[in-house]
């Protein structure tokens, strides 16, 4: 499925393709099984080694990989009885955020996630995963519904950021994001947020005020894109590589800084190489996070979320 290969991931992608070929051949030829097993071990080893040396900007590129699984890819794999709910009841339906009801692990949940498109046409429809205020107002509507019906909330974060447009400003992009943060802060239900790709600034955080925040191994989360940061600091958007290093936006950095609670590892070569395996891992991590929150009642959940964010920051007092 690797139709798009970044230069630095080429050795791994080639090995993965050989594994696939051998898998197909081994179906009719059982004697190939040992060779296939050995090749799988080799591929995993090469992938681990290569991915251990990736620079922050390479991880950013992978977090934006065109083949990466998006919110609906995960929903399709571990959510039953999915029913999408549309519209903000005020102005429009925003397809860069999907929202709805589904069953996760046997219980009904509310799901809200950014949604990028595949290919140009789909991406135009999804606005490249950049929501307008209507997307956030739909999210708020669903968060409030979850609170009313006592349903846990699962969010999936994957956006370059909220859309910077004239209409977005006219219709209150700032207010919509702030209000979404507030709605999440007060919801009396468990909330699990998963950064599955790009966590772009306030547009990402608007879906990120959770009791537990998970990040996929190659997910990134940042106050500003490396390109934007470089443009401001050095008036030179091409220095994104340096900016990516300064911003400390990789999953390991996020864990160290206390911004995320756990890293969900990805299959060899990254989630984009194996959507099923990536979904299985994320599903298990969300299940675990929900189980941890099971003893807490509504008020305790709000307190837990407050304390979680209350302690983030670095300062001295004197």
């Amino acid at each position: 499925m690797a139709t798009l290969v970044l230069p630095f991931e080429k050795p791994v992608v080639e090995l993965l393709e050989r594994v696939q070929e051998l898998e197909a051949a081994a179906l009719g030829e059982p004697t190939l099984a040992p060779e296939l097993a050995a090749l799988r071990v080799e591929t995993e080893k090469v992938a681990r080694e290569l991915f251990a040396t990736l620079s922050p900007i390479q991880k950013v590129q992978l977090s934006r990989h065109a083949n990466r699984p998006y919110t609906l890819d995960y929903i399709g794999r571990f959510v039953d009885q999915w029913i999408e709910l549309k519209g903000d009841r005020r102005f429009a339906e925003d397809e860069s955020i999907v929202a709805g009801l589904g069953r996760f692990d046997g219980r009904s949940v509310v799901i809200v996630g950014h949604q990028k498109g595949r290919g140009t046409k789909d991406n135009v429809k999804r606005n490249f995963g950049m929501p307008n205020p209507e997307g956030y107002r739909k999210a708020i509507r669903l968060f409030e519904m979850a609170d009313r019906f006592g349903l846990p909330i699962l969010t999936f974060i994957d956006t370059p950021g909220a859309y910077p447009g004239i209409g977005a400003e006219e219709r209150g992009q700032s207010e919509a994001i702030g209000a979404s943060i507030a709605a999440m802060a007060r919801a009396r239900v468990p909330i699990i947020a998963s950064v599955i790709g790009e966590g772009g600034s306030g547009g990402a955080l608007a879906l990120g005020v959770a009791n537990r925040v998970l990040v996929l191994e190659l997910g990134c989360y940042s106050v500003i894109s490396p390109e934007g940061c470089a443009a401001i600091l050095w008036k030179d958007g091409t220095r994104a590589e340096e900016a990516a290093e300064q911003l400390k936006l990789t999953s390991a950095d996020l864990l160290r800084l206390g911004v995320v609670d756990a890293i969900v590892d990805e299959p060899p070569g990254g989630a984009h190489q194996d959507h099923d395996a990536a979904a299985a891992k994320l599903c298990a991590a969300i299940r675990l996070a929900l189980a941890e929150l099971a003893p807490l009642d509504g008020a305790a959940l709000v307190d837990d979320r407050y304390r979680r964010f209350r302690r983030i920051g670095s300062f001295v007092e004197g």
């Binding site: 909220a162 859309y163 910077p164 447009g165 004239i166 977005a168 400003e169 006219e170 219709r171 209150g172 992009q173 700032s174 207010e175 994001i177 702030g178 209000a179 943060i181 507030a182 802060a185 007060r186 600034s201 306030g202 955080l205 608007a206 990120g208 005020v209 989360y221 940042s222 106050v223 500003i224 934007g228 940061c229 401001i232 600091l233 050095w234 300064q246 911003l247 400390k248 936006l249 950095d253 996020l254 800084l257 911004v259 979320r305 407050y306 964010f309 209350r310 983030i312 920051g313 670095s314 300062f315 001295v316 007092e317 004197g318």
Partner: protein, 277 residues
């Protein structure tokens, strides 16, 4: 090093004096006595152009007798990311402290407004563009917490370019922290009056700034989520005249009122009179 002593002894004094006596208005271009400008809180008496007003000016404008019992003065930033854009972050902090004369991007405390005690916060735009890092986020969070504990309404004056890049993701998280604190404050049924000054953009706009029970915008202030240049480069169009100005926000229903700096205190007093039990 020996300098040829050509400078007459009172030249410096004269220069300060010369600069101090008259000021040219950025709006109408008329030369105005500097004292008149200061007394008028940097609002031109002829054309009402609002010039930059520092945090000490705002304190004088909003707090009775200009008196503020400051809270959390001692909070100081660290460098959690080891950030450098060529110059280390902490060095930039020091430079900004010297230049602006304040320690961080916000000042908070307890004061009185037309006799009524209230919790006051005011961004220092002169300090790294009023950007919100950990210290600003913490001080706002404590402002709401302490406001709730002491049963005080909160009036927050914003002037900020947004989240502080140099503290990366930790700055972004201050948005969630402060808004969560505001939500708790709200539950105590005390009013929050949000004042949007020039400029209020980015992460500060997109967190608590629009969540006031009442939102007051300063005349002609630039207020928005994305900066005008970012929008222009995204949509490749010229922006309409007056876009993202306070009056534009009023027209689009995002703020309750736009007013001159000089009317702000009396308007807020009326609002608090209605909302405070």
């Amino acid at each position: 090093m020996a300098w040829p002593d050509k400078t007459p002894p009172d030249a410096n004094e004269k220069r300060t004096l010369g600069k101090g006596v008259f000021r040219k208005c950025d709006g109408c271009g008329v030369t105005i006595p500097a004292d008149d400008m200061v007394r008028n809180f940097e609002v031109c008496p002829r054309c009402e152009q609002h010039h930059k007003l520092g945090s000490e000016g705002w304190q004088l404008l909003l707090c009775d007798d200009g008196i503020l019992d400051e809270w959390d003065e001692g909070l100081a930033p660290t460098d959690p990311l080891g950030f450098s854009d060529g110059r280390p972050y902490l060095e930039r902090i020091q430079t900004s402290q010297k230049k602006s004369g304040v320690r961080e991007g916000i000042q908070v405390g307890r004061a009185h407004l037309e006799g009524r005690p209230f919790a006051y916060g005011c961004f220092n735009f002169g300090f790294m563009g009023g950007s919100m890092g950990s210290v600003v986020g913490e001080k706002i969070t404590r402002l709401f917490e302490r406001g709730a504990a002491e049963r005080l309404p909160v009036v927050l004056l914003q002037a900020s370019g947004g989240a502080r890049m140099q503290e990366g993701i930790l700055s972004l998280m201050q948005m969630a922290k402060s808004v969560a604190a505001l939500e708790r404050f709200r539950a105590t049924r005390l009013p929050f009056v949000s004042c949007l000054l020039h400029p209020t953009t980015g992460g500060v706009a997109a967190s608590f700034a629009f969540l006031g029970d009442v939102n007051v915008a300063e005349s002609k202030a630039l207020i928005g989520f994305a900066g005008p240049r970012v929008i222009e480069s995204t949509i490749r169009q010229k922006l309409p005249r007056g876009f993202q100005r306070a009056e534009f926000l009023l027209e689009h229903g995002m703020v309750d009122m736009v007013c001159s700096r000089l009317e702000m205190k009396s308007r807020i007093a009326v609002v608090l009179g209605h909302l405070c039990a």
